[in-house]
Each structure stands twice: as structure tokens, then as C-alpha cells.
């Protein structure tokens, strides 16, 4: 059955190539013929799984690109989905008829609820866990459920690359015997002393349930923490990012400046996650830095139109942490600004109309004098407006509209120095189409 599944999968891949249609169909067919096909293949020595509530796509892509740049042949599910069909399709591409994957490294971006299947069938050597945050409540329910869906199925050989700055992720040390390899961002010019976010994932010590104390916060519950009652505390990580500069998009590791691929804090954390696993694979530091800088050019940055600076920030609807990062960015920008908030749809996975996550986003941070107008756009314009009013923002500052096109003229005419787009990724294109001159 194994060989038949591989042959059918490969034939479907060839047809897909001829018809120029990429899909997860080859993997679907192979799994239909032999549901255990993924268990029966011979994998390369390096097997890396990347998961988390956000950042798993860009982090896994960066890991795969750097490995390729350093002459590794890499199998990576960059085209298909991060569930079994997509993963099987990617693997079939680099698999011979005997079931041997002919690459040097397997890099898989996996859905966090699907990790347990990959642990059982492929048994990776490394799990890069970017983060675990509030995300898609109707599907994920809450973070403990996702945590246990990953941790309870870990095999003892799997080494975990994750973030020292997040005390919630230190639960893994408590609950498993797996080796943890950490990265962290040192105190920087954006760090703060008094918490500015509510509804965090963790406040109390994972060991003795005492309120954690912080020397500083980097963002939400991330920072340098210690328990005043027991030995639990932030510890020196394997990789420490220093001199974070989000304006130019850089961080330093061992005094070498590295591009982070954007201007957001999550770009820095994702880059550190990639750096940590690649260092673990013994890539030479100079080559690693060179490759990271080659692929981490800033993809999204501000642009000018009509003497206004436009800044689109891609967030993930139903993930309050990504919106909080965007809002966090606006508060250390002292320029006078308009803010546009919106999305086409909350979820492509289901039809639920849950807006509770809006109340996990700290829109209270927009309650400051640098904000001129806030535009609430799209299907949830009224819910966004309600949330903003309850955040203390004056109703006269809030304008609702069905689309970005409807407010385009007003925004351009108002000529406020800066316009931030705090948008679901499905609204980035309409935003750029409206305001980026060359894309008109």
C-alpha cells in the first residue's frame, strides 16, 4: 500500500504541475490509499516542526530559506496547508519510490492542534514553539487546551526551542523532561516597568501560584520575571537578542546586527527562534547571520502619499496579541496619527460571529492625544466602534465605514502626518490599493 500511495501521490503531483495547480490533493490521495503513509517513510536526519499561535509560517519559512542558503536540501510545506494533506504533499515531492525522503532536512509548519499527529507519525527532533497566546476562541477555546494538545503528546527525544521571556511557556519545564533551548530579548528602549495590558495568559508562578514580579516587561506577560516565593525566575537563555531597534528593524546577537524582517516585536522574536534552531544545527555563526540578513529584508514598511506616511500592520483576527503588538507600536510613535482598523472576515474556518476577542485587545492604548481619528471599517465596524467607546475614546473621534475605499478621500484630505492601518491580513491589500500610489 505504501508504494501505491507514493506512486498515486506522485502522479497527482505531476498532473498538478502540468495544469499549474498546486493543492493538497496528492497528499490527500496518498493518505486515502494508506492512512499510515507518513509513519512508513524514511526521513532525513534533521526534522524540525514549527508551531505556535502566530509566527509559525514566517519562522518556518525563514528556517527553510537559511538552510537552503547553506547548501541543505530542504523539504518544506510552504505551499500546502499546515494540516496532514499539505504536509503529506510536501513530503511526497521529495520522496523516492522506496519511501526515502531525499533531502537533508525536513521543516514543517504545523497547526498547533495537529502537532500531536506529527509527533506520532514523523517524530521530529526539534519543536520550535513560537508562542501560545489567546487565538481563535471558537476553535481553540483557551490556551491551556492548546498547550496540553502539544505537551501531552511530546516524545522524550524532542528538543523544544522557545521563548524564555514568556513565563507561561516555562510550564513545559515543569510538566515534561524534554530539553528546552531558550531565546530572549534583553531589556530595550521599548521595555516598560508598569503593566499596560489586561487579560494576560499568566500572572502567577507555575510552581507555587504566587503573583510574579517583573524587573521589566517587553510586551504583555513577556519580560524579566521572578517569583518572590520560590526559585522560579527568568534564566539566561542560549540566544539573547540585544539592542532591539524596531524603527530600522534590527537586533544584535553576540554583537552582530541582524535584520528582523519588519518593524514589529514579533519579527524580532520569530528571528530569534529561527536563529536558535539554526545555531543548534551547528550552522557557522557568520553564515547564519549572512543568510538571515539576506532573507530578512523588511517586507512591509511605511510609505508616503500626499505628504502622509502610511503604515499598514498585518494582524491576525481573533488573536488579541497580534493586535496588541500593533497598538503597542503606535504608542511609542509620537507623530499625530489617524488609525484605520478593520477586516473582511473574522475567520475563514467557521461562520461563528464571536467578537469577544475585541475585549482582549487593549484599545485603551489609543486613548491619547496623538490620535486624531479612528476609522472602524468593514463588517464589524459597529462592534469596533462600541469597543473603542468602552475604551474611553470620544465618539466624535470614531468614524465607521463599510470599506477603506469609502474613507480614502477623507483620509487623504485630512492630511494627518501618519496613518496606521491596524488590519487583519485580508485588509492589507485594500489598504495599500487605496493609499499606495504605485499600486493604483
Amino acid at each position: 500500500m505504501k508504494t501505491l500511495a507514493i506512486i498515486i501521490g506522485k502522479i497527482t503531483l505531476i498532473f498538478g504541475k502540468i495544469l499549474k495547480r498546486g493543492s493538497s490533493l496528492p497528499g490527500k490521495l496518498a493518505l486515502f490509499i494508506d492512512k499510515d503513509i507518513l509513519k512508513k517513510l524514511k526521513y532525513p536526519e534533521i526534522k524540525i516542526a514549527v508551531t505556535g499561535s502566530s509566527g509559525k509560517g514566517s519562522t518556518s519559512k525563514l528556517i527553510a530559506k537559511v538552510l537552503k542558503d547553506n547548501n541543505y536540501k530542504v523539504t518544506f510545506n510552504n505551499e500546502g496547508s499546515n494540516l496532514d494533506w499539505g504536509i503529506a504533499t510536501a513530503i511526497l515531492k521529495d520522496c523516492n519510490l522506496y519511501g526515502k525522503i531525499t533531502s537533508d532536512a525536513l521543516v514543517l509548519e504545523i497547526d498547533e492542534r495537529f502537532a500531536k499527529v506529527i509527533f506520532e507519525k514523523i517524530n521530529p527532533d526539534y519543536l520550535v514553539l513560537t508562542n501560545l497566546t489567546k487565538d481563535q476562541p471558537p476553535r481553540q477555546h483557551h490556551v491551556d487546551i492548546v498547550y496540553h494538545d502539544i505537551i501531552d503528546y511530546l516524545k522524550p527525544n524532542i528538543k523544544i526551542i522557545t521563548n524564555m521571556d514568556d513565563p507561561y511557556l516555562r510550564n513545559i519545564e515543569k510538566d515534561t523532561n524534554n530539553k528546552n533551548i531558550y531565546y530572549s530579548i534583553q531589556k530595550n528602549k521599548y521595555s516598560y516597568k508598569t503593566q499596560i495590558f489586561e487579560n494576560l495568559n499568566i500572572y502567577y508562578c507555575p510552581y507555587c501560584n504566587t503573583l510574579l514580579k517583573y524587573d521589566y516587561y517587553n510586551f504583555e506577560a513577556l519580560g524579566k520575571y521572578h517569583c518572590p516565593n520560590c526559585d522560579f525566575k527568568y534564566q539566561t537563555p542560549s540566544v539573547l537578542g540585544t539592542n532591539l531597534n524596531l524603527e530600522i528593524g534590527t537586533i544584535s546577537i553576540n554583537d552582530k546586527e541582524i535584520l528582523i524582517g519588519g518593524n514589529m516585536l514579533y519579527h524580532a522574536y520569530n528571528t530569534l527562534a529561527a536563529y536558535t534552531i539554526l545555531k543548534e544545527l551547528k550552522l557557522k555563526e557568520d553564515n547564519l547571520v549572512k543568510s538571515l540578513n539576506k532573507y530578512n529584508k523588511i517586507l512591509v514598511k511605511e510609505y508616503q502619499n500626499n505628504n502622509i506616511t502610511f503604515y499598514p500592520i498585518s494582524c491576525k483576527a481573533e488573536n488579541s496579541t497580534t493586535y496588541n503588538q500593533a497598538l503597542f507600536k503606535t504608542i511609542y510613535d509620537n507623530r499625530k496619527k489617524d488609525i484605520i482598523i478593520g477586516w473582511k472576515e473574522i475567520s475563514r474556518r467557521y461562520e461563528h460571529f464571536d467578537v469577544s476577542w475585541l475585549y482582549d485587545v487593549e484599545f485603551e492604548l489609543l486613548n491619547n492625544e496623538t490620535i486624531n481619528k479612528i476609522y472602524a471599517c468593514g463588517i464589524d465596524k459597529d462592534n469596533i466602534k462600541k469597543r473603542l467607546i468602552l475604551a474611553g475614546i470620544k465618539p466624535q473621534k470614531i468614524i465607521t465605514s463599510d470599506s477603506i475605499d469609502d474613507i480614502k478621500e477623507k483620509v487623504l484630505k485630512d492630511k494627518i502626518e501618519t496613518v496606521y492601518g491596524i488590519l487583519n491580513f485580508d485588509y492589507i491589500e485594500p489598504f495599500n490599493k487605496a493609499f499606495k500610489e504605485e499600486e493604483k
Binding site: N199, Y203, Y359, R387, L390
Partner: protein, 193 residues
């Protein structure tokens, strides 16, 4: 002065449930009624005689059990506060916490109940909009609050919630008050009677 006690927001903080406190505070402010919000953490003492409005919102399962154990010694204090017509609002899966009062029974579901909700009720003239994302629903089918048009009711019925004096317990989130202005006004009127 209305005193709002938000119980254990560091532990019961799923689904933006503190939006209920924000909505209530906003409505009070609109009506120029003075209020103060006290966030009660586990390190703080509970004094039910000092509160006018007591709120419990959704939390992760581990915390629901911890908070329930913490509140059990206050059973008589809570029952007395209810009889003195103090207003209690309990939303989402926090309904499991006050089970120990023995006023109502609950059902646990291995598969969580997740649904949009539309409902009507006698508390206000408004089509209630909300959401459910819970492993617990109320089992008792008396002292109901909502007639469910869409969503899950108590014990497989189309009626949801539990009320006794000014205790209001419901599986609905939303946040419920933030999405339903007239229902918020009902609570404002209750507090200012």
C-alpha cells in the same frame, strides 16, 4: 456610590469578559451615577457587605476549580448577600463556580458548547446577542432568564440561565453587557432602585 467588585480578573479573564464591567461602568457614567470598581485578586479579602455588584466571568478550567474552592468558605456570606438583594452577574463557564451554593445544578460536556446566541428575555425589550464557548451549562430548568432562539439552553431545553433574587447566572458571553445595551440598562436600574 455604586461599588462594583470584579472577582479574580487575573484568573477569570477569558473571552474579554471584563468588557461586561467596562459596559456597566460606561452606562453608569452616562447616567452620571458615581461608581468605583474593585478588582479582587486572590491575595485580597472578600467583604460582600461592601459590594453592590459582584461579577464573575469565564476562566480556564483549572482556575474555575481553584476559585470555587476559594469561595466555598464564603457560602453563607454569599447567600446572605443574595438575600439582601445584592446584584450578582455570573457569565460563561463561571456558572460552574457558584454550583456550591446549591441553588442550581450544572451539566459538564466533554465537547464544549460553542455557538452564536440570539435570545429574548423579560429583563429588557431587546433581542439579546451573545456567544457560548463553555464546557458547562446549567441543568436546572426553573428560574430561567433567556428564551433561546439560537444557541444552547439548560439541559437540552431552549431556555437558559438561572436567576434568584438579584443573582443572574448565564452561560452567555459576548461580552454580554457590551453587546446588549438595554440589558446593561436593566442592571443599572437594578443598582439604582
Amino acid at each position: 456610590m455604586i461599588t462594583i467588585a470584579n472577582l479574580y480578573p487575573k484568573e477569570l479573564n477569558l473571552y474579554g469578559e471584563n468588557g461586561n464591567i467596562k459596559a456597566l461602568a460606561y452606562a453608569l457614567k452616562q447616567k452620571k451615577i458615581k461608581y468605583k470598581i474593585i478588582n479582587i485578586d486572590k491575595e485580597n479579602k472578600l467583604e460582600f457587605n461592601k459590594y453592590d455588584f459582584i461579577y464573575l466571568g469565564s476562566g480556564r478550567k483549572a482556575y474555575l476549580d481553584i476559585v470555587k474552592e476559594r469561595l466555598k468558605p464564603y457560602k453563607e456570606d454569599i447567600l446572605n448577600a443574595i438575600k439582601k438583594e445584592k446584584v450578582f452577574l455570573v457569565t460563561g463557564n463561571a456558572l460552574s463556580i457558584l454550583e456550591f451554593l446549591d441553588l442550581y445544578e450544572i451539566n459538564y460536556y466533554e465537547e464544549r458548547k460553542v455557538s452564536d446566541v440570539t435570545a429574548t428575555c423579560t429583563l429588557c425589550n431587546e433581542l439579546i446577542k451573545g456567544f457560548q464557548n463553555t464546557e458547562y451549562l446549567i441543568k436546572t430548568t426553573s428560574n430561567l432568564i433567556f428564551n433561546i432562539e439560537q444557541g444552547y439552553g439548560n439541559n437540552d431545553t431552549l431556555m437558559e440561565g438561572y436567576t434568584y433574587h438579584n443573582l443572574y447566572v448565564t452561560s452567555l458571553i459576548g461580552p454580554l453587557l457590551a453587546r446588549n445595551e438595554k440589558l446593561t440598562n436593566f442592571f443599572v436600574e437594578l443598582l439604582t432602585k
